[in-house]
């Protein structure tokens, strides 16, 4: 298929992001195995996609500071602080202050590589964990289990697969190392992902 030509930029990006249709993966990877220029382009695209995700996540975390500079005017600080106190107090009174679920922190998890746990997430926020399910046995749903570093289960659920990805939200979590295990519904362990919830600095 790609015998005498190079891969298209869009295809490389789709593959890098895990969004390539299953049927297109085999010819793509067969070409990658023998073509150095396309290997280099894929490595560059991986770096670019990773950097963009990292930067976009940072921008999302500081939207007020960036997008609405007038909020930084000193004269508004007391008013905003007062308003925040009122809102939080009202929420606590109602017993359901947990708006973090609507704006979770997105974390892309990749299958564990060696002993390293590279994915990071901040403590005290809802997390949107996104898993790469490429190359796993096909299933419309997978059972997920999140355990702490001692293997104690802290959360579990069954989630639908969306292409070669699955995403799910987990509530605010304490700092520490966690592992997410993916099981085939009959119970077979398929893959494990690691991530670290970092304490506030």
């Amino acid at each position: 298929m790609y015998a005498n030509c190079h891969l298209d930029d869009e295809e490389i990006e789709r593959y890098s992001m895990g969004a390539m249709p299953e049927a297109a993966i085999a010819p793509f990877e067969e070409h990658i195995l023998i073509c150095e220029p396309c290997q280099l382009r894929l490595a560059q695209t991986d770096a670019y996609v990773g950097a963009m995700r990292q930067a976009a996540a940072r921008l999302r975390m500081e939207p007020l500071k960036r997008g609405l500079p007038w909020l930084r005017l000193p004269r508004l600080v007391p008013a905003l602080a007062g308003l925040a106190v009122v809102v939080v107090a009202a929420g606590l009174w109602l017993g359901r202050v947990d708006t973090g679920e609507a704006h979770p922190f997105a974390v892309d998890l990749e299958a564990t590589r060696g002993a390293a746990v590279e994915a990071k997430a901040p403590a005290g926020r809802w997390l949107l964990l996104r898993l790469d399910l490429a190359n796993l046995p096909a299933s419309s749903r997978y059972r997920l289990e999140m355990v702490d570093r001692f293997g104690s289960r802290v959360w579990q659920a069954t989630v639908p697969a969306q292409g070669s990805k699955a995403g799910f939200k987990v509530p605010r979590t304490q700092p520490g190392i966690y592992f997410v295990r993916v099981y085939w519904p009959p119970g077979k362990l398929l893959r494990e992902f690691g991530f670290e919830v970092e304490g506030r600095r």
């Binding site: 990658i32 150095e36 560059q44 930067a55 060696g114 570093r149």
Partner: protein, 206 residues
């Protein structure tokens, strides 16, 4: 394009034009020059694939193991369609990756069971890789900051939220061409700013 790349492309084109059967047949017959040729064609690709999936640890050993498996199975006659050599190599590499991940999972589980109060090792990536990732992140941040708000949102939706292009175009009132332009301009800018670093740091090379 450097001379190594030229040489690699030449070999790719030659093998793509001619069937793999000849080389497979020679390997079956124990011809060392065929082994050498196969190593030349596939070694960088296998190294790249393994490094991308499993990281740089023990890379040389893993590449060697994969070659051993491929050669032995060809010699045992397990490759029934020699013209499908590329697909066969890919299957073996993928199996090795899956087996390694499985081993890591089991090892970690056993360790956690045995060592209740285990000490944590340093899980951070090596300093060089960490520095490169940090620099790339800063570069991307510079690019996003230099863009209009709408373009920033397009890129965040695509790369961070992984929304499909048609949904982004629909919700943000963009044509497909406008969407592609936003993406390609940002990527080109990133390439310009980081070109020298990319050229120097490609982790899978030996």
């Amino acid at each position: 394009m450097n001379s190594t790349t030229h040489a690699a492309m030449e070999s790719v084109t030659n093998f793509a034009d001619s069937p793999w059967s000849g080389m497979v047949e020679q390997i079956r017959n124990g011809d060392p020059s065929a082994l050498e040729r196969m190593y030349r064609v596939f070694s960088t690709g296998i190294r790249f694939y393994l490094c991308r999936q499993l990281g740089p640890q023990d890379l040389d050993d893993r590449v060697h193991d994969v070659f051993l498996i491929i050669v032995q199975s060809i010699q045992k006659g397990e490759l029934r369609e020699p013209e499908r050599l590329m697909g066969y190599v890919r299957t073996i590499v993928r199996r090795q990756v899956a087996a390694q991940i499985d081993d890591n999972v089991k090892a970690r589980r056993n360790r956690a069971d045995l060592e209740f109060g285990m000490t944590l090792s340093d899980h951070h990536p090596n300093p060089e890789r960490s520095a490169i990732e940090h620099q790339n992140g800063e570069l991307a941040m510079r690019i996003l900051n230099s863009l209009p708000k709408r373009d920033r949102e397009v890129l965040a939706r695509f790369y961070l939220d992984e929304q499909p292009p048609d949904r982004i175009c629909h919700e943000m009132g963009l044509t497909e061409t406008q969407f592609r332009l936003v993406k390609s301009r940002a990527k080109a800018r990133f390439g310009e700013l980081g070109r020298t670093r990319f050229a120097r740091h490609v982790g899978f090379r030996s």
